[in-house]
């Protein structure tokens, strides 16, 4: 029985955000390692299911992909990219489940020293719809394409 971990608190500060807070009887160092060392991640991330850490490039822009294998043979892949990693402080990364492609979640895990060797983890998840994500990509792309065409125009004018 675990008596040393407090029950999580769950709140939704804004629409589309899920926030879960938990305190662990373990140092920030140990909690950080559990989150970032692939062989340790494999031991808890699957909630009892086997986890294969296929990729875990723990740096800004790096990819991660974990695959869960449940006892009944079900396989579920999860993946994304790291946006920010500040050692022992916070991890920000995108999260996507193979079963709902396009539904990106921005996950932030923050680690706080809670005193007496304890650590508080605050996990915040922000949901995006595929339309929003496509919209973001498209607006960026349109701007980029206009610039590219302008550059091409200039080049063609020069070589005429």
């Amino acid at each position: 029985m675990i008596t040393t971990t407090k029950r999580h608190t769950l709140t939704t500060p804004t629409d589309r955000t899920i926030r879960v807070e938990r305190e662990f009887d373990a140092s920030r160092d140990r909690v950080w390692r559990a989150y970032t060392e692939p062989e340790l991640v494999a031991q808890w991330w699957g909630r009892g299911n086997k986890v294969v850490v296929e990729r875990d490039e723990g740096r800004r822009g790096g990819h991660w992909r974990y695959v869960e294998h449940s006892p009944d043979g079900e396989v579920n892949g999860f993946e994304g990219r790291y946006r920010e990693i500040i050692p022992k402080d916070r991890i920000v990364r995108t999260f996507e489940w193979d079963g709902m492609p396009g539904y990106t979640i921005l996950e932030t895990a923050e680690f706080f020293d809670a005193g007496e060797g304890r650590t508080r983890v605050v996990s915040t998840s922000l949901f995006f719809s595929p339309e929003e994500r496509d919209g973001m990509l498209q607006s960026g792309m349109e701007g980029g394409m206009a610039e590219s065409f302008a550059a091409l125009d200039r080049l063609l004018a020069e070589v005429r």
């Binding site: 879960v20 938990r22 009887d25 559990a34 808890w44 489940w97 996990s123």
Partner: protein
């Protein structure tokens, strides 16, 4: 025409709160009055009214007042794949933190 919020917003309104998840489940079995729901979920009438009105705005529940009783039934909108995903994700995050707690307990004193 009634303007409903987007699927994702609707899904969030419905399932990010455990009481609202429960209300939808219960109304899926049969209709209930607000006071019956308040009693079933051990909450004040005002509190339950708030939950029901959020579900009503999302089109997931509809209410009808007959005499002094407001009866709730499931609305014209159904929960989408998004809603199931959000609920699953939320359970997953909680289970993962439970699992992390158990792991940290288990490996206590393994190494410095």
């Amino acid at each position: 025409m009634v303007q409903y919020p987007s699927d994702l917003d609707t899904a969030f309104a419905a399932v990010a709160d455990p009481t609202r998840r429960g209300v939808l489940e219960r109304l899926g079995r049969r209709e209930a009055s607000i006071s019956e729901l308040a009693e079933a979920f051990d909450m004040t009438l005002t509190g339950m009214k708030k939950h029901v009105s959020i579900l009503e705005d999302a089109g997931l529940v509809q209410t009808q007042k007959v005499g002094r009783v407001r009866t709730c039934t499931l609305g014209p909108r159904r929960l989408t794949a998004e809603a199931a995903w959000i609920a699953d994700y939320q359970r997953m995050v909680e289970a993962r933190l439970d699992s992390l707690g158990a792991f940290l307990e288990r490996t206590k004193g393994d190494q410095p």
